[in-house]
């Protein structure tokens, strides 16, 4: 019951998602053929994971945002392809450990700057945004490097089961686990009104840092997924995903002032962004109009979510009388 109430916010985007799946199916047979599902999943995964990465910081409120999501993914991709593998650290353990380590480090850096040094999130993460971009180019001045076979396996099917499904499932399980803890309540509280959370004894700085740690790890995972999909490194692979992640969070019904929403909506919205684009490709519409369409859909989604929010509030006040 509460479980459902906590997820109502994602209703619209889920409906839209289903709608676009159907539209895609109508647009081309290729979409229905199970042979292509893996490709689709590989294409959608980064949109979904970066969107989820963006959610924690935005939920944590006070202008919380993480601009470094895209570049961090890019940095991890470069690190794996151009540093780890060439040095022979291409076994699952070292690569996954490194990925998570980098994610945690980045999350800690952002989190401390924001929660302890108290630099506004958009500025702190703008700093890391630029820095990571620079580091990536330093490590990997041009596309190259390689991914070990086991990693590329994530982007392939194993007996009709896409490896990417495993990654997403893993994230889902981890989040569902985390939701059962007090973290979600604390996060929502801090995002809703940090002063209230603080005075009632919540460790606000701690919660914020955790939110950015979560973001860092997920973004790093996106980097891992890039490496699996591309089978190599490319210094410009991460860039576009900061904006798409923010757009996705907005689409996903997460209140951008913090306090309401979750990973589900963001992930669904990420997939939706991807499906919009595939639909345009399948329907042979010029990319130029895709840009316009993205904008329009984003505006409409915002408007709808806001309308829903207003209705909810009106109900609240109706009860208040």
């Amino acid at each position: 019951m509460t479980w459902l109430r906590n997820r109502l916010y994602a209703g619209p985007v889920l409906v839209a998602l289903v709608a676009f799946v159907i539209l895609n199916m109508l647009a081309s047979r290729a979409f229905i053929d199970p042979g292509n599902w893996n490709g689709l999943l590989v294409g959608a995964a980064p949109f979904m994971i970066t969107a989820m990465a963006q959610t924690g910081p935005i939920l944590s409120g006070d202008g919380g945002i993480d601009l470094s999501v895209g570049p961090l993914a890019g940095l991890v991709n470069a690190l794996i392809a151009a540093v780890l593998v060439p040095h022979g650290w291409d076994d699952p353990l070292s690569i996954i450990a490194a990925t998570i380590g980098v994610g945690l480090a980045s999350g800690l850096l952002n989190g401390v700057m924001i929660a302890v040094v108290r630099v506004q999130p958009i500025i702190a993460t703008l700093g890391t945004f630029l820095a990571y971009q620079g580091m990536t180019l330093e490590i990997l001045p041009m596309a190259g490097g390689a991914a070990p076979a086991w990693l590329r396996g994530l982007a392939e099917t194993h007996g009709h089961v896409p490896g990417m499904l495993g990654v997403l499932a893993l994230i889902a399980v981890a989040w569902l686990g985390l939701e059962r803890t007090a973290f979600r309540r604390n996060l929502v509280a801090v995002g809703g009104d940090a002063r209230a959370a603080y005075t009632s004894g919540v460790n606000v700085a701690g919660v914020r840092i955790l939110a950015y740690l979560m973001s860092g790890v997920l973004a790093a995972l996106a980097g891992l997924v890039f490496t699996a999909a591309l089978g190599s490194g490319d210094p410009s692979v991460g860039m576009p995903y900061t904006l798409t992640s923010i757009a996705a969070v907005a689409l996903g019904g997460v209140t951008l002032s913090g306090g309401r929403g979750g990973l589900l909506g963001a992930a669904a919205a990420g997939a939706l962004l991807f499906l919009i684009q595939t639909l345009f490709t399948l329907a042979q519409v010029s990319i130029f109009y895709l840009q316009i369409c993205y904008g329009v859909i984003l505006l409409m989604a915002l408007a709808l979510n806001a309308a829903g929010e207003r209705i909810r509030r009106r109900r609240i006040f109706a009860q208040l009388g």
Partner: protein
């Protein structure tokens, strides 16, 4: 402590702008010459004009991420229209009109529909850019008048004044914006609107009007920058505005205007524009490549803001 931060915050950006200039002169022998100074002024003034909208929208508690797109639009339209024989002034009027519409939509969506300004303007930007591409397919023929090129040229002069027209224009505009902020009804309303929207509404501040006016101003000034950039590069390019997404925000925050609205002002942004331009100049001067430049710029922005742009701790916000 409160007071201390306020004082530091006020002086800091300006001191920094001056200090940086001397630093550049120190580390880069032979920097001190008229041309260097002029190109610094030129680049700062282009950024400064683009950053006005960013400052004002941030003051009312918003954001304008559509500035780059509007710059691109104006840039392209200038070349197209003038190339097609439309007199430049007519072209300008048309462009400003279109920009005004975009600004209106931004303000309306952000305030009346209460949509998140950051995302609204991002979306608007993507619509505008898409429209440019759809309209031009990236092929922008056309031309710009020679005097416009001169206006945005380092060696350009303004009548008797030994400064490029764009710099003189900027100086005039600075005066205008400062007057608007300090000595006009709209100005006071802008600060009230940013400081406490709910209270402003109850106090009878015409919030919707203020927001729309500010966003229209922002778009129109972005368009002006776009027109000038057409003169600067001598040709049109839809993506000409791209660098201004990060740099305008950087200029505002480095100037010390908090993103929370109601505090700060354009005076600080002016200092911020110099700091940002000087920083990137310095980094180029030190021979850093793209990678190094980006890393340093990233850390410097954070470091500067951490010095004087920090938010009050929760305990003092109780």
């Amino acid at each position: 402590m409160h007071l201390l931060r306020r004082v530091a915050g006020h002086g800091m950006p300006f001191a920094l702008a001056v200090a940086l200039f001397f630093v550049i002169n120190l580390v880069i022998p032979g920097y001190a010459n008229l041309n260097s100074l002029l190109s610094l002024l030129l680049l700062a003034s282009l950024l400064g004009l683009a950053a006005i909208g960013q400052t004002l929208t941030i003051l009312i508690g918003g954001f304008d991420m559509s500035i780059p797109a509007v710059i691109g639009l104006a840039n392209v339209l200038t070349a197209l229209l003038y190339g097609a024989g439309v007199p430049i002034w007519t072209a300008a009027v048309v462009i400003f009109a279109i920009a005004a519409v975009i600004g209106f939509l931004n303000g309306f969506a952000a305030r009346y529909l209460r949509l998140n300004p950051l995302v609204v303007t991002l979306a608007m930007g993507s619509i505008v850019l898409g429209a440019i591409w759809a309209g031009t397919h990236g092929e922008v023929a056309g031309s710009v008048p020679n005097w416009l090129v001169q206006t945005v040229s380092v060696i350009g002069r303004t009548g008797p004044i030994p400064l490029p027209g764009v710099v003189v224009l900027w100086i005039v505009v600075i005066a205008g914006v400062l007057l608007l902020e300090r000595r006009s009804v709209l100005g006071r309303w802008i600060f009230a609107a940013g400081a406490n929207p709910r209270a402003a509404e109850l106090a009878g501040v015409p919030m919707l009007g203020v927001w729309i006016t500010v966003y229209v101003l922002s778009a129109v000034l972005a368009a002006l920058t776009g027109i000038l950039l057409a003169g600067f590069s001598g040709a049109a390019d839809p993506s000409v505005g791209a660098p201004y997404l990060v740099t305008t925000v950087a200029a505002v925050v480095v100037g010390g205007t908090p993103l929370t609205g109601g505090r700060g002002g354009y005076g600080r942004t002016v200092a911020g524009c110099f700091v940002v331009t000087e920083l990137s100049t310095l980094l180029v001067g030190l021979g850093l490549d793209q990678a190094g430049q980006q890393m340093c710029l990233g850390f410097l922005i954070v470091a500067l803001v951490a010095i004087y742009g920090r938010e009050a701790p929760l305990s003092l916000r109780l």
